[in-house]
């Protein structure tokens, strides 16, 4: 259960992170594109479907027109044949008495007039004996007309015309080896022989080629559509692939099609869907069947399909480009705003928040810009406050020194006057004056190293008088550091400590060395004594514990000097102490090499020159 929840939550978080990673422009663009694609596809499909239906309707209409035209032509042809038969019967046979008249001349005339469409005209008695024929030809020995289907049908239904199926004429001998496919039009006729009436059969053999030509015209178009002709029983009279059907190389659904009513029908034949249009020829019962494979619609529509695909693709291309432009237009101000906020986030507090674009984005930008300005102001205020606090702390530290000095010096002068050492007292007062002049330094905190060392010298002169030269002081100062910056009153407390804790209680002569030098970009001022020294643990505590109880002195210690240096020059600077019991102590002041100038001094005092 927990595992499932974990997987679900993983998936969810992945989904959310993916969703978050999409830009506004992309989201807008994808949404617009999807909607556009759907709309264009839907419209195209609808349009295509409309076109398909329309094409189908047009094809059916055209097919019906072709079919009707073929039917009209065929009916016209068959009517002509019936007229020939009527003309022969009513104008010739009925007027002739075969007992003493022949119908051969008229029959020949009629044949000659229509020989393009006819193979022969023949008249038989009811026993099948030939009465007359045109063109004149020898009747075959085995003609046996009475046994032929056309003869029997004519005799069977005497009032009607009868059209046979196509067959090879087998009545007359043609020495030119030619055989003709014919369709026989037969009818019963009344023959007069020596005044007596008898039945007979009039046969008009129509040339099958004429019908074939008539219908093949309708099949001329190089399409897969075609039409064929069947008799009322479904036997094929004409088919564009008739020989193939005879050779069993092609199949036709004629026996099924003949059962269809006139009009259009859909059928499935030989794995192919086809549109069948049927038209019945009047009088004969023959049917012209038009076949249009459904694939032929598709063939015609293939161009249209490609055109639709291209239309969709072009529309899509246009829409995608427009979508990109529109989404870019919408997203660009937001993007700019986002970029400016990102820059601000990276720490560039001076970066300008973008204001522009639509009203909403502009308002957002303005609000954000106001907020940023407010934050910036607040940060500035905090900085000023902190600087003031630092300055007041420095001032407080320095103010701890002045009373200490004053107490020490005045104590020494009082002690001298009491001992009537007026010369020494004058020297002391002079040195004290010099000391105060440097201490005051016109209220400046940062002074030259030279002044600070002068101050230290004054102090040591006072102390030397006081301690009756029980120790010696040596100053070894590199001249290049004299014009550098230092904060005031940093050497004097160290000398004080060297006297009180180092050399005062020594048995031998104490020595204090003040050494100043430059190393790389830093300067060092060392106060070294050969006094009592201290253990390592104590050295470690000197610069950490500000509440240490001092044994002697004013209570202003090394930590005071150390903190003041760090406040002014930075954490990298301050004091370094080296000491060992009975070996003396070295306290080293570490300062940056900053040449003294008014401007530099002001900056250091304002707290802006921290290295």
């Amino acid at each position: 259960m927990n595992r499932a929840r974990k997987i679900f939550s993983n998936k969810k978080s992945k989904y959310e992170s993916r969703r978050r990673s999409y830009s506004i422009q992309m989201t807008i663009s994808i949404s617009f594109t999807i909607i556009s694609v759907c709309s264009v596809c839907f419209l195209s499909i609808m349009l295509y479907q409309q076109f398909v239906n329309k094409t189908k309707d047009i094809t059916i209409e055209r097919t019906e027109q072709v079919l009707n035209q073929a039917a009209i032509n065929l009916e016209d042809y068959l009517r002509n044949m019936r007229r020939i038969s009527d003309a022969m019967y009513y104008s010739v046979i009925k007027d002739k008495d075969l007992g003493y008249e022949s119908m051969g001349v008229e029959m020949n005339l009629l044949y000659e007039a229509n020989k393009d469409n006819l193979i022969s005209i023949a008249c038989y008695t009811n026993e099948g004996q030939l009465v007359a024929a045109a063109p004149v030809a020898n009747e075959k020995e085995n003609a046996e007309a009475a046994k032929r289907e056309w003869f029997q049908e004519a005799m069977g239904q005497m009032e009607n015309f009868h059209f046979s199926a196509p067959h090879v004429q087998n009545l007359f001998d043609d020495p030119s080896y030619r055989y003709y496919w014919v369709i026989s039009l037969s009818r019963a006729v009344e023959l007069t022989n020596n005044g007596k009436s008898a039945l007979g059969v009039l046969l008009v053999d129509m040339n099958y080629s004429s019908i074939e030509q008539l219908l093949s015209k309708a099949n001329k178009a190089k399409t897969s559509e075609y039409l064929y002709l069947t008799d009322s029983a479904g036997e094929i009279i004409y088919h564009p692939k008739q020989k193939l059907i005879y050779a069993d190389l092609y199949q036709e659904n004629n026996l099924e099609a003949v059962r269809y009513d006139d009009g259009s029908h859909e059928e499935m034949f030989d794995g192919e869907r086809r549109l069948i249009t049927v038209k019945t020829i009047s009088y004969t019962g023959w049917k012209i069947v038009s076949v249009t494979p459904m694939t032929s619609f598709q063939m015609g529509l293939k161009d249209m399909r490609f055109f639709m695909i291209m239309l969709i693709a072009l529309s899509l291309l246009t829409l995608v480009v427009i979508n990109q432009l529109v989404s870019g237009q919408i997203a660009k101000p937001l993007q700019k705003l986002n970029d400016s906020v990102k820059e601000w986030e990276t720490g560039n507090l001076d970066s300008d928040i973008y204001v522009g674009g639509p009203i909403e984005v502009e308002h957002l930008g303005r609000a954000l810009r106001a907020t940023v300005a407010q934050i910036r102001q607040m940060m500035q205020d905090i900085l000023v406050e902190q600087e003031e606090k630092r300055k007041s702390e420095l001032d407080a530290l320095q103010s701890q020194i002045n009373p200490h000095f004053l107490y020490n010096t005045l104590d020494s002068i009082v002690w001298m006057i009491e001992g009537e050492r007026y010369q020494d007292a004058v020297f002391m007062v002079t040195q004290l004056a010099s000391l105060f002049r440097i201490s005051l330094s016109r209220g400046k905190t940062v002074i030259r190293v030279e002044d600070e060392l002068k101050h230290a010298e004054n102090y040591m002169n006072i102390q030397m008088v006081r301690y009756k030269d029980i120790f010696r002081v040596t100053f070894e100062i590199a001249p290049e550091i004299l014009s550098c910056c230092t904060i005031k009153l940093v050497v004097q407390p160290l000398l004080e400590n060297a006297i009180y804790y180092g050399v005062e209680h020594m048995d031998g002569e104490g020595e204090i060395l003040v050494k100043g030098y430059q190393q790389n970009d830093d300067i060092y001022i060392e106060v070294k004594d050969n006094g009592l020294g201290m253990p390592e643990e104590e050295v470690g505590q000197l610069l950490k514990d500000s509440h240490r109880v001092r044994k002697r002195g004013s209570g202003v210690g090394l930590i005071n000097v150390h903190n003041r240096i760090r406040l002014c020059f930075g954490e990298a600077y301050g004091l370094e102490i080296e000491s060992a019991p009975d070996e003396g102590t070295t306290v080293r002041i570490h300062l940056p090499f900053v040449p003294y100038a008014e401007e530099t001094r002001d900056k250091l005092e304002a707290g802006k020159q921290q290295i």
Binding site: S23, Q25, S29, H167, Y177, K243, F306, M310, L314, L317
Partner: protein, 322 residues
């Protein structure tokens, strides 16, 4: 933004691909349908006997997008001449050649024929060559046709013992003729009939049948269309005694004499089928060169005067349009 550009680029690329596909489809549709040029070389191509064959060729050419060229030929005396014709048709751009071979067992010349054809496809009609299977062929079952003549003869003549038979065997250099003769002779074995002469086409053309030969014969067998016509011509001569004629043929003249009962039995190969099938097979070969080449058999009819007007027979025997 970068990802957006990649997606956008991909989409544009796909759209352009679709446009290219649709353009290609539209332009390609405008191209006229490709027609495969195929030449047909048969012996005496303008002869009536090829009428149904030509109809079959034309119908198949329409159905299978073939540009047909029926080469005008007279008698094709030998393979050398056929080779020249093949080379000429090849030069004229024919991609396929449908050919009736006049000889069939000269290996060397067959090789030359293959060389002449080169990359052009060859298809045999009417007769195969030895060895069989070198070229695809559309042929009737010649052996069976010969055998059916003998079968019909046995049906008609209850006693064949001692009957004298003369055979016009046609071009025996041609495998089809050889097979017909073999089929006939095989079936006649044991009947007691006597083959008094068997004359090939070449000999007949050189020296006509002698009166003695015709006088002695009681049954005439013709194994080829022209031979059947020739036999009828002999029988029509007044001095020639009438005798039953059993032949192979499909020309209108032969059909006419069948109708006139001068021919007792006519074996009629379905040449419409042969013509149609040969072009269909050739077109399939040209459209798909890796298609398996295989022989096709066409059917034949055994027709007598009294059955020639039967519906099924007349559909094969008589051309629909004159």
């Amino acid at each position: 933004m970068n990802k957006n550009r990649i997606y956008f680029g991909c989409l544009i690329a796909v759209v352009f691909a679709v446009i290219a596909y649709a353009s290609y489809g539209m332009l390609n549709r405008r191209q006229p349908e490709k027609l495969y040029p195929v030449s047909v070389i048969v012996d005496n191509s303008s002869s009536d006997r090829w009428f149904a064959f030509r109809e079959g060729l034309k119908q198949a050419a329409r159905d299978h997008h073939v540009q047909l060229n029926i080469v005008s030929t007279g008698e094709l005396p030998d393979l050398e001449e056929e080779k020249v014709l093949i080379e000429r048709e090849k030069e004229n751009g024919a991609q396929g050649i449908i050919i009736q071979m006049c000889e069939s067992d000269k290996d060397k010349l067959l090789t030359q024929m293959q060389e002449a054809a080169g990359i052009v496809d060859i298809l045999l009609v009417e007769t195969d060559v030895e060895p069989e299977g070198v070229f695809p062929a559309v042929i009737p079952d010649n052996y069976e046709m010969g055998r059916m003549i003998a079968v019909s003869l046995k049906e008609d003549e209850k006693k064949l013992q001692g009957k004298k038979i003369g055979i016009l065997s046609g071009n025996q250099e041609r495998l089809s003729q050889k097979q017909r003769l073999d089929g006939f002779l095989k079936e006649m074995e044991g009947t007691g009939a006597e083959i008094i002469w068997e004359i090939g086409e070449y000999e007949v053309m050189q020296t006509a049948l002698t009166e003695e030969q015709l006088q002695n014969v009681e049954i005439l067998i013709a194994l080829e269309n022209d031979e059947t016509e020739r036999a009828v011509d002999y029988l029509l001569e007044p001095e020639t005694p009438s005798c039953p004629l059993y032949g192979v043929g499909c020309s209108e003249k032969n059909v006419y004499y069948l109708d006139k009962k001068l021919i007792d039995v006519l074996i009629v190969p379905n040449e419409f089928h042969m013509g149609y099938q040969s072009v269909a097979v050739m077109a399939a070969q040209l459209q798909d060169h890796v298609a398996a080449r295989r022989d096709s058999m066409v059917n034949f009819l055994v027709v007598r005067p009294e059955t020639m007007y039967e519906e099924d027979n007349q559909k094969i025997l008589f051309p629909l349009v004159q």
